[in-house]
């Protein structure tokens, strides 16, 4: 089981490392969408929104790969994955396979590292909050 967890972490880290680096350096070209999806993607790219997403992906990927602050890395990547899924569900359905794969990896890691996230759902959060 240790190696499954390690493998999942490395795989998700590598996927986001590659796409995060590509978002900043553009060393391989992604197939471009058409129509509204292309217009939207163009606006996101020219206004540097994609660069911000790439930086978040890169930081999350490095945390997963290095193995320090793994829950923080998962926290950073979770909203990115939600947005990737929304993009594929609403704007451009092609090429959703990788998004589904990343979602499965992320959900598995969230389950495995659940001890770090459980306090977020604690029924009485005020009791856990340090008093000033």
């Amino acid at each position: 089981m240790r190696y499954v967890i390690l493998g999942t972490r490395i795989l998700e880290g590598l996927v986001f490392l590659i796409f995060g680096l590509n978002g900043l350096l553009h060393f391989f070209s992604m197939p471009l969408p058409t129509g509204d999806a292309l217009t939207w993607f163009g606006i996101m790219a020219t206004h540097h929104w994609m660069n911000f997403v790439a930086v978040v992906q890169l930081v999350g990927a490095l945390l997963l790969l290095v193995g320090r602050f793994v829950p923080l890395g998962l926290t950073l990547l979770a909203p990115v994955i939600v947005n990737i899924l929304l993009y594929h569900a609403l704007l451009w359905p092609h090429g959703y396979a990788l998004a589904i794969l990343v979602l499965i990896l992320e959900l598995f890691l969230l389950a495995v590292y659940w001890r770090s996230f459980a306090p977020v759902l604690h029924p009485n959060p005020e009791a856990k909050t340090p008093q000033l």
Partner: protein
């Protein structure tokens, strides 16, 4: 700090329930297509992305208003706040007067994240051990 947290909670919750409800149930008055901003918001509305965000805003706002689920509500609202802030920073030149509300929301969010930091301590652990 306790009173401050309650005030921030009510403000943040009401703002997001209000704007989320508006996004869900009212027909927005959008700028015409042709500019980057107009294209962006129109596409966003057409495919239903803004309705998805609005639904998450209502859910997050309600969770922040209810005492027992504040950290989970903050988890949902945090990426939304980042995206709202990013939108207004990157498109600042196109709508310069709109930046105030996102900054206020961000400050409320940061105060609450700090007030409930006990619940998020698990996310910041350096070496989290996975369990299964």
């Amino acid at each position: 700090m306790k009173v401050l947290a309650i005030v921030c909670r009510i403000l943040l919750g009401l703002v997001f329930v209000f704007f989320g409800g508006m996004g869900l149930f009212m027909h927005p008055n959008l700028p015409p297509r042709g500019t980057a901003l107009g294209d962006f918001v129109n596409i966003f509305n057409q495919v239903g992305w803004s309705q998805a965000v609005a639904a998450f805003q209502v859910i997050g706002g309600l969770l922040v208003l209810f005492g027992g689920t504040v950290p989970f509500g903050l988890c949902i609202l945090c990426p939304i706040t980042v995206n709202i802030l990013l939108f207004h920073i990157l498109f600042h030149a196109l709508a310069p007067s709109m930046i105030v509300a996102p900054i206020v929301v961000t400050i409320l969010e940061i105060v609450l994240l700090y007030a409930y930091r006990g619940s998020f301590a698990g996310v910041w652990t350096t070496k989290a051990t996975p369990t299964l």
